[in-house]
Amino acid sequence: MTPSGRGAIAAWLILIAGCGYWLTQRLVLTTDMSAFLPPAATEAQEILIGQLRSGVASRLLLIGLDGAGEADLARASSGMTDRLARSGQFETVSNGDASRAARDLERLAALRYALSPGVVPEAFTAEGLRTALQESLALLASPVGAQFRATLPQDPTGELRRLARLFARPGGPSTRHGVWFSADGKRALLIAETRAPGFDLDAQVKAIALIRRAYAEVAPAGAQLRLAGPGLVAVTARATVESDAKRSSAIATIGILLLLLFVYRSPFPVIFSALPAASGLLAGMTGVSLWFGQVHGITAGFAAILIGEAVDYPTYLYAQAGRTEPLAATLGRIGATLRLAVLTTACGALSMLFSSFNGLAQLGFLTIVGVIVAGLVTRWVLPALTPAGILQRKMPLPRFELPPPGRLTARAAWPAVVVVACIAALTIARNDRLWDDDLANLTPQPAGMRALDRELRSQLGAPDPRHLVIVTAADRESVLRRSERVARTLDAEVASGDIAGYELAAHILPSARTQEKRRAALPDAATLTANLEKAMAGLPFRPGVFAPFLADVERARSQPPLTPENLRGSAIGARVASLLFADAHGWVALAPISGVRDAGALAAALGASGEPGVLLLDLKREADSLVAGYRAEALRLFGIGLACIAALVFAGLRSLPATARVLAPVLAAALLDVATLSVAGVQLTLFHLVALLLVVGVGTNYALFFNQPQPGRGARALMLLSLAVASLATLISALALSGSGTPVLRAIGMTVAIGTVYALTLSALLAPRAYRGLID
């Protein structure tokens, strides 16, 4: 063994040991799909994506119980609510139980004079009180009077009733047996909000397990649990991605090992062939883990493709080695081509590295580190490691031979160009149907789960609103004051019919200034007592019956202002938290608008108010612009990757016609790949383009080897064997991925599988022309 060989082996062993240690001790796997979402270009989009990751919406788990009788389901609903509320894992658990809402209201009753919009000076004059007392009297004698009787002595002005109206969720589900039910009465409905944010998947797993356990404890016979929500989707996605990544890597590894065993007829070359890929994978994963702090599940799944690609390098070396030829001599022959092959793949991935999506950058990083390490191991470690003579029992040379030079290509060239051009034109013409515009399709989610989510959401009366007014300011008080000013504009819009209604945190939690104003509206004890006495004259109320009212008002006059902390743990507090929160720039208040009839008029009214820090967000338009940015990014990355590969091939071959000959079949293969996917009804995502870059990289390898001068028929046949094995290995790993349940991995697998077949076929068909020029 040469000293350089020993040095290579030593360096390699150290690398493997280091990577192995790191991966077993420190690897953190994530599946936060927002890593593959485009970065926010505007503050509005930032708020949108932040809400998707950790907003209240991300923490909601929607629960449905069906399959049993109404009364049984109602009992189960209450039982589950009690158990989940006691677990401490949930901020709120709601099942529509009015007594829970009543408890909320009871807790906030002491704060009613700060919260109720009815607290104005006129309400506490003798005239104002008299009207309120007459109203109370009529209410007491009404068919539903028993309901209000208990609170009448403390609340003759009806502030609690105003609060109840304020807190009632508009358009909620109907109640049967005291709990929420779907309109047909077949499904009891609950909403649980986890304490942990949606992206904390371990906490989400725990919360979901708690729900299932609570359900198992109370489930009536025959009942079924229906669960939906972003947390469930994310947890399912992680499980799918993890098992997919493991399964496809295992299938790819076994398939490729069997293939190599068939070719080499001996275990040793097979083991040695696996070393570059394994080393590249270890180094790549360690690199990603070190650089990004964590490895995304998709990145791990992508490893299967990398195995297929990295196994090509030792294959080129071993398969092309003559029976008695030392590997050093083979390397002398194919070394330059091998280097170019490694570098083109790395270059194609380089563009991904600069992607603004964290997830894509990881894929790029893994590919670059992986193929370079695999290439280096093939070039330096394998020749030093491989004992002489182990390639003796290699499979007999294939019988297939290239078509006679020129016969096929010369005649087929122009028609082929025309056909490819037509396909290109057709594909471009389909441009509008070419792209998948639904970002949700990125996440592995069974179709049934999405349908159930939509169903539960509509039954709960919580459809995602399309229009949002976003109010921002430096601090909470400012954003609340600004919200209150915006509310005047929105009230006018409701009155004019441009919108049906809106929700606002400031309606539940008024600004400190508004609360101060309300406190100031409350008269002192002597004045209030005198006013009340005057108001009661001639009405049948028993003297002294409103003493609790007088005491409560007096207490409210010295109460500190209400803060979100006072609301913690109540359903109302959860709603405030969903509509009012701090972000990196300050505070944000969201006002979901319902029933927008004239979005233009609404925007104009908001603009005319001249209030700064107010933004009307059309979620559909924002999502569309996110998708547009995402497409632009995808195409940009693809273009850059392609340009890198082309430049590299030109630098390696130093001839424009030769570069064209190498790239032509590869580009045609990519185009046919897109056309095939499109015809098959697949809509393209960024991941198809990433895979396409990989196809271009791998295809360039084929074309490079086809275009390499070969000394005689024997060497050419060996080259063909190596290409056949290499492409089969890639195909096996790609097919392993295309069976995946994760849309991203499936997209990559399918694209690579189809592209590999095209690239190999086209390279073979177009190559003989090159032979003529270079060899004969």
């Binding site: 004698a141 028993a146 309901q147 009787r149 028993r542 003297p543």
Partner: protein, 183 residues
């Protein structure tokens, strides 16, 4: 006379609930005057309301108060509207928002409709008297409802309701006299 009506002899042989309910269910619509007296610990004197009651099959109930103030309560299906014309105030709410409110209203409406199932969902029913002078006592099944109402007693003659007494759990009480006997 009222006391006599409430202290009827034990059930006669020919009296059963389905028979009474069947008779009630045969009435398509009814309109009667009423006098209601509300006694409450909150009030120093009983509040006396007069007006008319209207029932239209299957689920419309109207209570028009004419004195001491003017107020129209209309219950139609699951929707309730209370329009106080004296105070010029309107109030709407849905029965689906509270099962207690539903139970309070069904005590009268389901009886008028002759809907035993709807009545039994909220109350245990006891019947006494004869077809010509019966007394139905409704006791809440649900404890939340029981916190509001102790019992409801409805006295009637064949398909006509004559008197409704509601004993609230707070000790308040309302007694409504229906029909031509009402002054």
């Amino acid at each position: 006379m009222l006391t006599a009506l409430l202290a009827l002899p034990a059930a006669a042989a020919d009296l059963d609930l389905p028979a009474i309910m069947e008779m009630l269910a045969a009435v398509p619509a009814a309109k009667e005057s009423f006098v209601e007296s509300k006694r409450s610990a909150l009030l120093s004197a009983p509040l006396v309301l007069t007006g008319t009651l209207v029932y239209v099959r299957p689920d419309r109930l109207e209570k028009h108060v004419l004195s001491p103030y003017k107020e129209d309560t209309v219950i139609a299906g699951g929707a309730v509207s209370i329009d106080n014309r004296t105070l010029k105030q309107k109030r709407y709410f849905s029965l689906s928002s509270s099962s207690e409110v539903t139970a309070l209203i069904e005590g009268m409406r389901a009886t008028l409709a002759g809907d035993t199932a709807a009545l039994e969902r909220h109350y245990a029913i006891r019947l006494a008297g004869t077809q010509d002078a019966w007394l139905m006592t409704l006791t809440p099944r649900d404890e939340k409802l029981a916190a509001l109402v102790a019992r409801i007693r409805i006295a009637g003659a064949r398909a006509r309701l004559k008197r409704i007494e509601v004993d609230e759990s707070s000790g308040d009480q309302s007694a409504m006299l229906i029909g031509p006997e009402a002054p």
